[in-house]
């Protein structure tokens, strides 16, 4: 068993965190307002939209990756953007994996407040913008749960980033694709080192978020 290449592990870890946090940020920016809107509005077709979101929460990442790849490949609708086998392309795939989780958990948190929540705040005469701020404060534990779930999903995901990123050394290689590759190459030392880093990152991030979440109770 060969010894792990430390600089390589650091480089891959930094790229992994960059891709994951960028994707998470975009997913939160889109998903939280969408989840609040879906959770608090009643409209025709709402159930269908929620069913789609719920299905998306369990969608296999490799299928999401395939769908993104089908759009980004040359000669495909978004091929002109040149995002295939790039970090931004991987971010798009991971955003799509995280988005249903953020939307689904946010709308569940809003739903848990009960139908009368908005009425009770309205009867206190709270202006609309303040109502929204109050709502976010009320569902913050749910939002933290969404962050934990989304981060866990995209940090450990391998299928979509492999398909869209291509595991190119120094460019699109991330922890999960690197672990897979080094294992196949028989370099179990590097693979195990990368795995330890991945598990350590996951434990650290979810641990931190859990501490914050529990402290809020």
């Amino acid at each position: 068993m060969s010894s792990p290449d430390l600089p390589l592990i650091v480089e891959i870890s930094i790229r992994t965190l960059g891709v994951c946090f960028s994707a998470l940020a975009v997913a939160l920016l889109i998903g939280v307002p969408l989840g609040i809107w879906l959770g608090s509005r009643r409209f025709r077709g709402r159930r269908l939209v929620i069913s789609v979101v719920n299905s998306g929460m369990g969608a296999p990442p490799v299928v999401v990756g395939l769908a993104v790849a089908l759009l980004l490949w040359r000669n495909q609708p978004l091929g002109f953007l040149g995002l295939m086998y790039t970090v931004p392309g991987m971010m798009i795939a991971q955003t799509l994996i995280a988005l249903p989780l953020v939307v689904g958990i946010t709308l569940a948190a809003v739903g848990a407040l009960g139908e009368s929540w908005d009425l009770q705040v309205r009867t206190l005469g709270v202006p609309r913008a303040w109502r929204l701020a109050l709502l976010v404060r009320e569902i913050r534990l749910g939002l933290l749960a969404a962050v934990i779930a989304a981060l866990g999903a995209i940090l450990s995901e391998v299928g979509a980033v492999m398909m869209v990123g291509g595991n190119i050394a120094g460019e699109t290689r991330v922890l999960t694709t690197a672990i897979m590759m080094y294992t196949q190459m028989g370099d179990l030392g590097t693979a195990m080192g990368l795995s330890a880093v991945l598990i350590g990152l996951m434990l650290l991030l979810s641990g931190l978020l859990t501490v914050v979440q529990q402290g809020e109770r």
């Binding site: 009368s116 009770q120 009867t123 005469g125 913008a129 303040w130 109050l134 809020e216």
Partner: protein, 358 residues
């Protein structure tokens, strides 16, 4: 009433869609006055909460108006299941002041006044999510009072409170109305509490306002059998007016006569109602002018205050209430003499056109 109402509702039509076909609330006219409490009574599903929400401006009106004389923002409602926002009790009280542009000192004064007024100063730093049901009710009231409303609408304020909590809240509400001069409207199923706190009653049935009036007036003169049943006038007997020898009576279907005072002509079909506490058990038959004959005791239920007695009189069931001690002397099967004053009998269901004679 000469005073101008602080909330005036006219020709309200509110629709609440539901899977079972929807519900429509229709209120032609309802006024709320400052320094006065009105209790809204009604069976489940009669539209009580919908009415409060419409008055609070929380529902889209199909037609009509509900307007406060002091402008918008002066009507607030406390829901049956009040919310506890995340944070302390004090934070909860400040929620309603968000975005109002008040000075910090003004905010502090309002919060202090509400905390003291509802007796929850000691809970100021407690997490609102950890309050008991009674404490949460007080928090919700204090949160509303911070707004200095002119109209306060309460949905089932006594629900889930133990008897001492209900007593305390009743006194607080009476004091609140007296001290602040607000108009209070409370929805409740508890007739006793309603009569204790409110000076007027509004009775709802099937989405319609059936009767509005002073408590005594509604309790003793309900407009129809539905209202009578809701306000505890549980003795209702159908009959016809009979006249003779200078007296007027209702001849009850199945037998028995009750002397009444009315101008209705002979043969008028009526229902005669009387409250159970007005029906008296007498030591001996026929001793009084108000005697109506004998009855058998067929049922006795006793709580800590009253014994509820079911009687069989002329083949019909009548009900009376006795204070706990007196009720204990009775047993099922006892024969008792009954009496009731003419003034305690209330005629209902009088048709607009009556036949001149039968």
């Amino acid at each position: 009433m000469d005073r101008a109402p602080v909330l005036r509702a006219r020709d309200l039509r509110v629709e609440r869609p539901s899977r079972s076909g929807g519900f429509e609330l229709v209120v032609d006219s309802l006024d709320l006055f400052g320094g006065e409490a009105i209790a809204i009574l009604g069976a489940n599903g009669s539209g009580k909460t919908t009415l409060l929400m419409a008055l609070a401006g929380l529902m889209d009106l199909r037609s009509g108006t509900s307007s406060s004389s002091q402008g918008s923002g002066q009507v607030t409602m406390v829901f049956q299941h009040a919310l506890a926002f995340a944070g302390t009790v004090e934070h909860n009280l400040r929620v309603g002041l968000l975005g109002r542009g008040l000075d910090r000192s003004d905010e502090d004064a309002r919060v202090e006044s509400a905390l003291e007024g509802l007796g929850i100063v000691h809970l100021r730093s407690r997490s609102a999510k950890r309050l008991s049901g009674g404490e949460l009710r007080r928090l919700a009231l204090a949160r509303a009072m911070v707004l200095r409303p002119t109209v306060l609408l309460l949905d089932e304020p006594f629900d889930d409170l133990d008897p001492s909590g209900q007593e305390l809240l009743s006194r607080d509400l009476l004091r609140l109305v007296k001290d602040t001069g607000i108009a209070l409207a409370l929805v409740t199923h508890d007739l006793r509490r309603a009569a204790l706190v409110a000076s007027r009653l509004a009775v709802l049935g099937g989405g319609r306002l059936l009767q509005v009036g002073k408590v005594v007036e509604v309790l003793s003169h309900p407009v129809d059998r539905d209202v009578a049943a809701l306000v505890g006038m549980i003795n209702i007997l159908p009959g016809v007016i009979v006249r003779g020898e200078g007296r007027v009576a209702v001849e009850i279907e199945g037998g028995g006569r009750l002397q009444v005072a009315t101008d209705l002509p002979q043969g008028s079909a009526v229902s005669v109602g009387f409250r159970p506490e007005r029906l008296k058990l007498e030591p001996e038959q026929g001793a009084l002018a108000s005697s109506i004959g004998e009855a058998h005791v067929v049922g006795l239920t006793t709580d800590s205050i009253l014994t509820r007695v079911t009687l069989e009189w002329m083949g019909r069931e009548l009900f009376t209430h006795l204070l706990y001690g007196r009720g204990r002397q009775l047993a099922i099967g006892d024969r008792v003499a009954l009496s009731i004053q003419s003034r305690d009998l209330h005629l209902m269901g009088i048709p607009k056109k009556v036949s001149p004679s039968i």
